[in-house]
Subunit: 156 residues, 2 copies
DNA sequence: TCGAGCGGTTTTAAATTGAAACCACCCTGT
DNA sequence: ACAGGGTGGTTTCAATTTAAAACCGCTCGA
């Protein structure tokens, strides 16, 4: 469960969150939670994974503060799993993943779900990274700056 | 290697790309590739993973068209691994992951790398999802529309 | 009080991971 | 020619993780 990462990775800002999510199942659970699923059985039916795995993944998400349990909500004596603010912070990541999937994993004419703005019903725009002045920047237009040392290339 | 996902997932637009990436190591390899790393040994030294694992992950990334091998580049008789356009399409996802990490995985005063605009040297803006009319939309402002059926809630 | 649904845990086999050893190829020096 | 080192892997094997299935306990309604 606790995958050890190198020091370089622990400061890098990418490996640490990856470690918290755990594995892909966790991300699919989070996606379903955004969909409004809350109950153990709902996740299990939606994802089709074994109950012990789901149990372990939920426990991990709870331990990392990505989800939390709330007592009842609709009378039943069971608890429900809901996203915390930290968990809701994963929304852009899921959108990025979805848009990447739309770009490269579906044939142009292949049917797939579409993320639309609830108010207008129109598809949302593409995620774009912008600099402070509003320019859209790509990977090559960015670099990472290390904490106190001199700048260095890449997006590390 | 080939994790089976349900039909619901195969159309969902999230599970399919997840399956292609494979696991977290692959995403760290892609991150390093954005950093300019190209050689087997560079990846291995940077990530500190076993050579057989790196070999398997690179093979998987090649198989999914996320990276490709190019013959030489600098005289050496070896091949190099570079991102394809599909692989470069993962940039927003990595940025989303990084920004989430910055938000929730570092103490306010804790040193961490910063993604900056290369031209201005200033930090990049936050990724924002916008509707066609330019409004910033969050998870609750969106829904998914299935291919030919009636609309349905959630971000599925 | 019986049974069913829900939410797990335990058990067990199978698959995956990862460390280390091994190997092949090319280049360099002598 | 050939010894040695760097690079890029594959193979081997033990240990961990995964996953399916059985089991368990609780609550509720009949």
């Amino acid at each position: 469960m606790a995958k050890r990462v190198s020091h370089r990775d622990s400061i890098c800002g990418v490996a640490r969150p990856l470690d918290a999510i755990g594995d892909w199942w966790s991300l699919l659970i989070v996606r379903d939670a955004f969909d409004g699923l809350r109950r153990f059985g709902e996740f299990q039916k939606s994802l089709g994974l074994a109950k012990n795995i789901l149990s372990a993944r939920l426990r991990n998400l709870l331990a990392h503060g990505i989800m939390e349990t709330v007592p009842a909500a609709d009378g039943s004596p069971y608890q429900e799993y809901v996203l915390t603010e930290k968990g809701r912070g994963l929304f852009p990541l899921l959108v990025a993943l979805r848009q990447w999937g739309e770009d490269f994993f579906f044939e142009p004419d292949e049917a797939h779900v579409l993320l639309v703005d609830r108010k207008s019903g129109l598809p949302v725009r593409r995620l774009e990274l912008r600099a402070q002045d509003g320019r859209v920047v790509g990977a090559g237009d960015t670099m990472v700056r290390l904490p106190q040392t001199s700048p260095e290339n890449g997006i590390a």
